[in-house]
């Protein structure tokens, strides 16, 4: 069963001679519970594609359907609620909120929705991601790996339909990167999550259920 379906997706940035075609007719579907990796050179359009999947950007043409929701017709507020409930993001630069503690950062998507956290689930993921002792720390008090583990916890806390990760190990040293990746994969497997990840790292790509190669805004394989 496909959790994500993309049809003939187009996106161009800029106008006239300076226009850059980021996506040029992408068709893609992602199966539920699978780990998909998107690889490609810099500027190939992989981040744009990921952003389209998460409703962070709006395509010029085409459709993005996530867990039965067609993003094309959504208004801004509906998109925000969609992101809150259906998608979990893990960024290369962590994007933790510096004024909040680790625990507050993790629970932030639930706070936005005004929903009560599942304390058992919270205990589980913080334990799984080795954050239990650092819950009251501020992000800058954590190592890069620690910050990324907190970002993963935050992405998982709302039990989203799909987890989108944009080079989550790009800002980490290889050891931390391995650790974070291992934990991410374990979390996905534990909670049967669908993960779409962008990476340059071919070793990581080998760990994926499916690898999608993108070049000049088009899917090659």
């Amino acid at each position: 069963m496909d959790i994500l379906t993309i049809k003939d997706l187009h996106k161009t940035y800029g106008k006239g001679e300076g226009a850059v075609k980021a996506l040029d007719g992408i068709d893609l579907s992602v199966e539920k519970g699978k780990f998909t990796v998107i690889i490609g050179a810099s500027g190939s359009g992989k981040t744009t594609l990921l952003n389209m999947m998460g409703g962070l950007d709006i395509p010029d043409e085409g459709e993005v359907i996530v867990d039965g929701v067609n993003l094309s017709g959504l208004k801004e507020k509906e998109l925000a609620v969609f992101r809150r409930n259906k998608v979990g993001f893990v960024y290369q630069s962590f994007n933790l909120i510096p004024t909040l503690t680790v625990q507050e950062n993790i629970l932030f998507p639930l706070s936005l929705a005004g929903s009560a956290p599942d304390s058992v689930f919270f205990q589980e993921i913080t334990e799984l991601l080795q954050l239990k002792d650092r819950l009251t720390a501020y992000p800058h008090e954590l190592s890069g790996g620690g910050q990324q583990r907190a970002a993963i916890a935050r992405a998982l806390i709302a039990k989203p339909s799909i987890l989108l990760a944009d080079e989550p190990t790009g800002n980490l040293d290889s050891r931390s990167g391995q650790n974070v990746l291992g934990l991410l994969k374990m979390s996905v497997e534990t909670y049967h999550q669908t993960l779409v990840m962008i990476t340059h790292n071919l070793e990581i790509a080998q760990m994926a259920d499916r690898v999608v190669r993108i070049e000049d805004g088009r899917i090659l394989a």
């Binding site: 962070l56 925000a80 609620v81 992101r83 809150r84 994007n95 004024t99 936005l112 819950l135």
Partner: protein, 846 residues
């Protein structure tokens, strides 16, 4: 190790910095411009006030010459003129002194016309001309009014004058011109031609006639007392006297400096607000450029080079703001100084314009700007690159709050209060200073009570007095007929007029009974304090002492009979406490009773209640005696009446005793709604007069009071408003920076599912919290300041017309503005921040 400090590189970096950060330099230049403008304005205002005081001393002195040598012969005058330290001279030849007793305490010289000298004593006719023919005379208006001379060219003038030998003459002249001058209150000249002088006193210009006054202007008007002495000894001239111009005396200069000092004081506020303004910009820039400076330091830039870099930036900023700052400061000076320095025909802003205030302003600006650069420079030069890099990511609150980890928007908003604490503190401090200064200005302004001032200084709306009684130095000329019955009748008929009160006076010789003599003698011989008796307190007034001695020896004294009605009687009852008896309106109106005015001191110093007094053959019963406050009487009495007892009668009773006596003064009250019409009538009346009538308007006192009240606070108000502008800019700046710097953060919020409405609500709450934080500090501090400090400030002002009045109006206005800004600015910023896609914004945020 020797550091290779290549300082030239700093200049290159400054140039590049300007090129790449033009907005920062525009802002800094604007700040420097404002600071220069304020300094320029404050210094120009202070120097104008100081020079105005000096000019006032010059007016008091009566001449623009630095030294006046008197009692010289022509030869001596020639000898003195040859001294090398003298720049220029003017001469006056006098043939005598006006000796008519009605001239009063003023000294009027009968002198040979000399236009150059006349100009130095501001005595050139403004109507008519200086005498050109024999028999012509030109006079100042006060002398004319004292002598009762009509204001018409060709009017006959009879002058009593005394020559240097003491012989008295009476000479008839024809009026050829007159002038009004601010320098002729106590001294003036009556100009006649040389030929006329020769005719009146043939030997006036003889070789040995010591009647020349030489006005001297020096090359260097410093230590003029010493120079005056030196000129006499160097030229070997003896037997003359000299006076030096008050305006050039060191003591007077010091006094002028002292009096103008409050106008220079706002310069300290300019230092403060200038520092805050420049510092807030430099601080933000330095904070934002930590990475850049960290890079420079890691490349080997020494602390000295960093200092030099920031120093050059400071100098450049000051230089950029200099000329526009001067221009703006001059504009402020042009429009404000004219309101502070009043009573000049010329615009004081231009009259007293000089270059030193401009030079001082630019030096002070440079010092202020460099001071503002000092702290960031110190911080940057002392920190290691790693430390700077760490600080570039900001600090967060150390305290960890116990919570279940869930966040409400209010909690999230509350967290941002802790960000940029230094900037928040700067904003609080500048807002606090601005509110306190404006509150202080406002309280001082409203504490100055117009009604108290007016009721004491000018209890009625208009006063018309005989021209001989306009100045306190003038002796009221009882023979004058300046105010006529027609004038009174016309005034009473005017529909604007609600009352016309009349006052007449007449001096008569009287003889005291033995009881009265004893009573008065005992009264003045009583001790005033431990050191002196009441009589001894009057030691400076020989004519008064002679009058008292005459009474003690012979019982003879001068009685000043005053007839009055209306508001004059009201004034008397209010300000002259009874020492015996009381006022009975009906009995007083009967004309059988008299009120007696004695000394303004507790005790009996005059006939008392129940005693009988004979005035011009009619007997009156004393209704009561009062401590006579004579300030309502305009002009002065004759020297014989320096010591007097005042007998107050109803005007009708006075007229029966002295039917020929004209009015000394009138008090007119009007319907305030018709003030314009009445003043038009008065102007026409004044212009149509050919005789001296002094008109004083309550509105003039009112205007003077309002100008004085505004002057009291004007320099602080200008500074306060600028400081307010700076404080509000700081506040806005803080809100803008706190919002704009979180562009990426907001994008992350949205990416995590925050709706736009939630984001707006978050910023609204942040704004409210910021405003609340400011008010939590502003309100209690201002309340304490207003309630406890301001009463003492008002009291220290030492003005009897000031009554401390508490008001928080500026604080409430501030609160309202802060509230509006706190809500509107972040939301407005958000409007611009949320343009573009989330991904673009997140990328920019990084």
């Amino acid at each position: 190790m020797i550091a290779n400090n290549n300082l030239k590189v700093c200049r290159t970096l400054v140039r590049r910095d300007v090129r790449f950060h033009p907005v920062k330099y525009i802002l800094l230049s604007c700040a420097a411009m404002l600071v220069t403008a304020l300094y320029t304005f404050v210094f120009l205002l202070g120097s104008s006030v100081e020079n105005a005081y000096l000019l006032n001393y010059q007016y008091s002195y009566g001449s623009t010459s630095h030294i006046l040598y008197t009692g010289l012969t022509e030869k001596q005058a020639d000898t003195l003129t040859g001294n090398s330290s003298i720049k220029s001279t003017v001469r006056l030849s006098t043939i005598g002194q006006l000796s008519d007793p009605v001239i009063g305490r003023r000294s009027i010289k009968l002198a040979v016309t000399d236009r150059a000298y006349a100009q130095t004593v501001l005595s050139v006719p403004t109507v008519g001309t200086l005498p050109q023919k024999n028999g012509e005379i030109a006079l100042d208006e006060f002398t004319m009014d004292s002598l009762g001379i009509p204001h018409e060219i060709g009017s006959p003038v009879s002058i009593d004058w005394t020559d240097p030998k003491g012989e008295t003459h009476t000479t008839a002249f024809t009026l050829c011109g007159w002038w009004a001058s601010p320098a002729n209150f106590s001294e003036a000249c009556a100009w006649i031609t040389k030929e006329e002088a020769k005719k009146l006193l043939p030997d006036y210009d003889e070789e040995n006639a010591a009647n020349v006054t030489l006005g001297v202007n020096l090359h260097q008007p410093k230590d003029i007392e010493k120079q005056a002495e030196a000129i006499l000894s160097q030229q070997g001239v003896t037997g003359c006297t000299y006076t030096t111009n008050l305006a050039y005396q060191d003591a007077r200069k010091e006094m002028a400096e002292h009096q103008a000092r409050p106008y220079y004081m706002p310069a300290f506020l300019v230092i403060l607000c200038g520092y805050l303004m420049v510092y807030s910009i430099v601080h933000v820039a330095a904070d934002r450029e930590h990475l850049f400076y960290a890079g420079l330091k890691s490349l080997g830039m020494t602390p000295r080079q960093i200092w030099r870099l920031l120093l050059e930036q400071g100098i450049l900023v000051s230089a950029l703001g200099m000329i526009p700052g001067w221009a703006l400061g001059f504009v402020l000076h042009y429009f404000i100084t004219g309101r502070v320095v009043i009573g000049m025909e010329e615009n004081p802003a231009l009259y007293f314009l000089s270059w030193p205030p401009f030079a001082a302003a630019v030096l002070c600006t440079m010092a202020t700007v460099l001071l503002a650069y000092f702290l960031p420079a110190l911080r940057l030069s002392r920190r290691t690159p790693a430390d700077m890099l760490n600080s570039a990511f900001g600090r967060l609150p150390k305290r960890r709050q116990k919570s279940d980890g869930r966040m409400t928007l209010a909690q999230l908003a509350f967290r941002t209060l802790g960000k940029n604490r230094w900037r928040t503190l700067l904003s609080v401090v500048s807002l606090l200073l601005a509110v306190l200064l404006l509150n202080s200005v406002w309280i001082r302004y409203i504490s100055a009570k117009e009604e108290i001032y007016l009721s004491s200084m000018f209890p009625w709306d208009y006063s018309l007095c005989d021209g001989s009684a306009y100045l306190s130095a003038q002796q009221y000329n009882e023979k004058n007929q300046g105010i006529t019955e027609e004038t009174v009748a016309e005034l009473k008929k005017r529909r604007e007029v609600t009352s016309v009160s009349m006052l007449k006076s007449h001096e008569i010789p009287m003889t005291a009974s033995g009881t009265l003599r004893e009573r008065i003698t005992a009264f003045y011989n009583q001790p005033y304090d431990e050191k002196q008796t009441l009589r001894e307190t009057q030691a400076a007034y020989p004519e008064w002492l002679n009058g008292l001695a005459r009474l003690e020896e012979t019982g003879e004294y001068t009685g000043l009979v005053v007839g009055m009605d209306g508001v004059y009687l009201d004034y008397l009852q209010e300000y002259s406490p009874f020492t015996s008896g009381s006022f009975d309106e009906k009995a007083f109106a009967s004309g059988e009773f008299v009120l007696v005015g004695g000394a303004y001191h507790e005790g009996l110093s005059s006939p008392i209640e129940g005693e009988e007094i004979e005035i011009s053959g009619k007997k009156f019963t004393v209704m009561g005696s009062v401590m006579h406050d004579e300030t309502y009487l305009q002009g002065a009495e004759s020297p014989e009446a320096a010591f007097n007892l005042v007998y107050i009668l109803p005007i009708e009773a006075f007229d029966r005793l002295f039917p020929e006596q004209a009015y000394r003064q009138l008090a007119v009250n009007i319907d305030k709604g018709q003030q314009k019409e009445f003043e038009v009538y008065l102007d026409e009346y004044e212009q149509g007069l050919n005789r001296g009538v002094g008109i004083t308007r309550r509105s003039e006192y009112q205007d003077n009071f309002r100008v004085a009240r505004l002057n009291l606070v004007l320099p602080d108000l200008v500074i306060g408003l600028v400081l307010t502008g700076i404080a509000l800019m700081n506040f806005i700046n803080m809100l803008v920076i706190k919002t704009v710097s979180r562009k990426g953060e907001f994008a992350v919020y949205e990416s995590l599912g925050m709706t736009r409405t939630q984001l707006q609500k978050l910023l609204l709450l942040e704004g409210i919290f910021h405003a609340g934080l400011m008010l939590m500090i502003l309100i209690p501090v201002t309340t304490i300041f207003d309630r406890f400090l301001m009463p003492k400030v008002v009291e220290a002002a030492g003005s009897w017309s000031m009554v401390y009045t508490c008001s928080f109006l500026p604080l409430w206005i501030f609160s309202l503005i802060l509230g509006i800004l706190a809500v509107a600015v972040p939301l407005l910023c958000l409007h611009f921040l949320t343009k573009g896609s989330l991904t673009e914004r997140m990328r920019q945020g990084e």
